[in-house]
Symmetry: D2
Subunit: 128 residues, 4 copies
């Protein structure tokens, strides 16, 4: 079955190559901690924090998805070479419109060589 | 985190509503058991076997992906209403070109109300 | 602006390189001439008829869309290397459910080097 | 064939309904006028400037693409209901990495009822 890999705090990882591998494949979700119901709210998703991912023919980030719980809010799809064919931290900013009281945002991304990766969840309170 | 639900043999499930729920959300992979390296090979993915899925505004099948192990081979994306706004078994036939000795095909699909679902794997031997 | 290139009958084209260029970038729609309202109907889209398209890092078929008039029925998205990294005629079979009296099917595809290409339309009568 | 509609300056349009129709279906590209080669550059695409687009079952913005000339840089795909099921100006911010001397950015979007729409081009000079 298609494994979904998840981020592990790389400060707990010994080997440099493994830190690099985990970090560059992990999507990270960045946004304010509070949103307002029915109003636009920006959520930035970035691939990797300290390490960059290649943008090669057989090894590139093909898509980034943003979920609220089980609900997909949007998908950004990229072509090989979209990052200038150089190692990079791919990112996209989704503008969402919260309709529930609480958001539990996670990002899922797909690397063409190392499959699906999911971020830690980010919780957002939504005021009326 | 975004849960990936998986098919359970519905003959082992008691309640009719649960059989329906599981079956209509599960993608099934259909193909020959043998392929030839470098030659076109058709893989059909169908949503549900005995039950149909709604095609409503807040409840429809939004995409079907085909994986070989961890590798995404293709994604079919649909709009709300693509199944004629009536319950249906959405399906797509991907034509793939095997390059490895063995395929382990799984399908992943996304329902806008009940999230990600993954099929059982289907194994295919690839002759030179 | 993003140009949408269209198929030209290559028997009217002199130069071999141009025949190849046009044919391998053009999606072709294949299906029966008659469908039945509310019933599944298969539509095959194939890239190129007589010539194959490369599947290289900076030159591959990234997606194939199927339209009925102005309405998008589905999109198949591919990654670089999906055709085995060898020249091929990418294809996908969409199963659609007609709800109108008449279909006017066209396919639109995207090559990462040569942009958007659209097929000739294929007309289908839909019986009640 | 699938028509690609294009923005017309709505100050030249008489009827209010037509101003609304054109504006809410048109993607607009916003970014700085200068970028630097190999460095991240943010491009915001927003649907409509003065009017909002519905987010209904049979009438919603399904995707927004960003092109540089004929080259697709990224696609943001949405599900019905992604804008909170209320009229909205859908938007996405793509982070791109320019590799050429000049960018000619256009956005293409797809409304499930009124088809493909393309923005005016935005030119960006890219310094070494």
């Amino acid at each position: 079955m298609a494994t979904v890999s998840r981020y592990v705090d790389i400060s707990t990882v010994d080997k440099e190559a493994k830190k690099d591998y985990i970090d560059r494949h992990s999507p990270f979700v960045y946004c304010e901690g509070n949103a307002k119901k029915g109003e636009k709210f920006q959520v930035r998703v970035q691939m990797g924090k300290e390490y960059k991912h290649p943008d090669d023919f057989d090894h590139y980030i093909s898509y980034i998805q943003l979920f609220d719980g089980e609900t997909l809010l949007g998908q950004a799809t990229y072509m090989a070479g979209a990052q200038g064919s150089a190692p990079a931290n791919a990112e996209v900013i989704f503008t969402i419109v919260p309709t529930r009281k609480h958001l539990k945002l996670t990002a899922m991304s797909y690397c063409t060589k190392h499959g699906l990766w999911e971020s830690d969840p980010v919780e957002v309170d939504v005021a009326e």
